[in-house]
Symmetry: C2
Subunit: 232 residues, 2 copies
DNA sequence: AAGGTAGGTGTACGCCGTACACCCGTCAAG
DNA sequence: CTTGACGGGTGTACGGCGTACACCTACCTT
């Protein structure tokens, strides 16, 4: 059994590794067996490769987890044009939910990674940005969108809460984005951040009163329940 | 420096271990350094004891995590009597939030443990039960409470979502509670469960339409936002 | 032909959870 | 007073984990 590369061999012994192949193997492994069953060694084994080979494609396990989150976010349907904000948001959230149900480990990983990172990955940022865009296009003021994002909270995936939290004392982002590119790629996030904190440098800084936002969302919910109650 | 037990020594060399001491040491360690920095070995070291000593007080690390959750739930203020349901719920939720802010690792642990266990620990059950009780006392019908619990969702700690999910294929609960005791200790949960599924045996079984509940909560939120928008 | 580089390999280290055998102080029964 | 059970702390050891580091080997460029 010669397994070394042989020129004319019709069935090549192994496809070449790549970040995508590593990530989808990882996602597949997590789907069956949960995130506890996910180890670099198991992923390598599933790919027929030695564990350290993975490190040529992902820096470490945390980056791998971040990459997996991006894969998941990519599974969420893009925003549907030609509808009012309400159905657009509704569809998007329900699509996100379907993704979360497909990958039961997702919320756990998202939760823990969002706590650790200074900034969400670009894919996540893009998702949030387009979400904000839908609200803005629907006529929401910047302030109201801000509230809305907090209110949606965990239903928007579970991370908007953390997104707005103080980001100091976290793992420093290895390749933090310069503010100009930030503004160009995520216009809505930038707009919101500038309105919230009058300090455009700390783009998603802690210029917002978390406690106020929490109570705002809570009261909105309680009022909704009360209305239902009155209507008996 | 003789550290072995010596009869008349006024300062006894070490307090005797106990489950509470282990748990509070674990909570303290998690508070400073997050849940990743929490290992049986570190806890033991903090208590001046050999790692295996802990296993005389907790069965394994998962049970330790469950115990830690109970400690946290115990920090939530008990329900305030003599008020309407709305302020009672409000106070309770805000108290829970203060606890979560004190222990930033809490949501992560709760999230992962709730996914794994068949039934929440008694302390958690008690918390949920009293929460339901407040709604019921406020005049909510059983059905409406059911909706309400889903709506509050993560704001009620983050676990009611999982509580109502299908509980098959999870770690079997070592000491599952007999239904009678269940009904006696958690009357409100039982009432709700019986109404939802007409099968009183699978007390928090999957007799509820998760998708419906999710959309119900989503729409309640969206309607709330819409009202704010109209009032511009 | 020379040499850089991208990608897979092998070994090794320190951490983890915990199974298992042990040991010792206390206390009840004989 | 002896004995033996037992609750609780100990020591050793195993298998799995993430990953640092040195290597080797094809290939591509010049």
């Amino acid at each position: 059994m010669e397994t070394t590369t042989q020129a004319g061999s019709p069935a090549q012994p192994r496809a070449p590794l790549s970040k995508e192949r590593v990530l989808s193997a990882a996602v597949a492994l997590a789907d069956e067996g949960g995130v506890d069953a996910l180890s670099m060694r198991k992923i390598a084994q599933a790919l027929g490769v030695v564990p350290m080979a993975l490190y040529k494609h992902v820096a470490n396990k945390n980056e791998l987890l971040d990459g997996m989150i991006d894969v998941l976010v990519g599974e969420i349907d893009p925003p549907a044009g030609n509808t009012d904000w309400k159905t657009a948001i509704r569809r998007r959230v329900l699509s996100a939910r379907r993704m979360l149900l497909r990958h039961t480990w997702a919320t756990e990983v998202i939760e823990s990674r969002m706590k650790a990172r200074a900034t969400p990955t670009p894919a996540v940022m893009e998702y949030l940005d387009s979400m904000i865009g839908i609200f803005r296009a629907g006529g929401f003021s910047v302030d109201l969108v801000h509230h809305a994002m907090h209110v949606m909270g965990s239903r928007l995936l579970g991370f908007s809460q953390e997104l707005f939290e103080d980001s100091s004392g976290r793992e420093p982002d290895p390749d933090a984005m310069p503010p100009e590119e930030m503004a160009a790629r995520f216009p809505h996030i930038t707009e919101l951040a500038m309105a919230v904190a009058h300090d455009p440098d700390s783009v998603v800084g802690s210029g917002c009163d978390d406690q106020f936002e929490f109570e705002f969302a809570l009261d909105l919910t309680l009022d909704g329940l009360e209305r239902l109650l009155r209507r008996n």
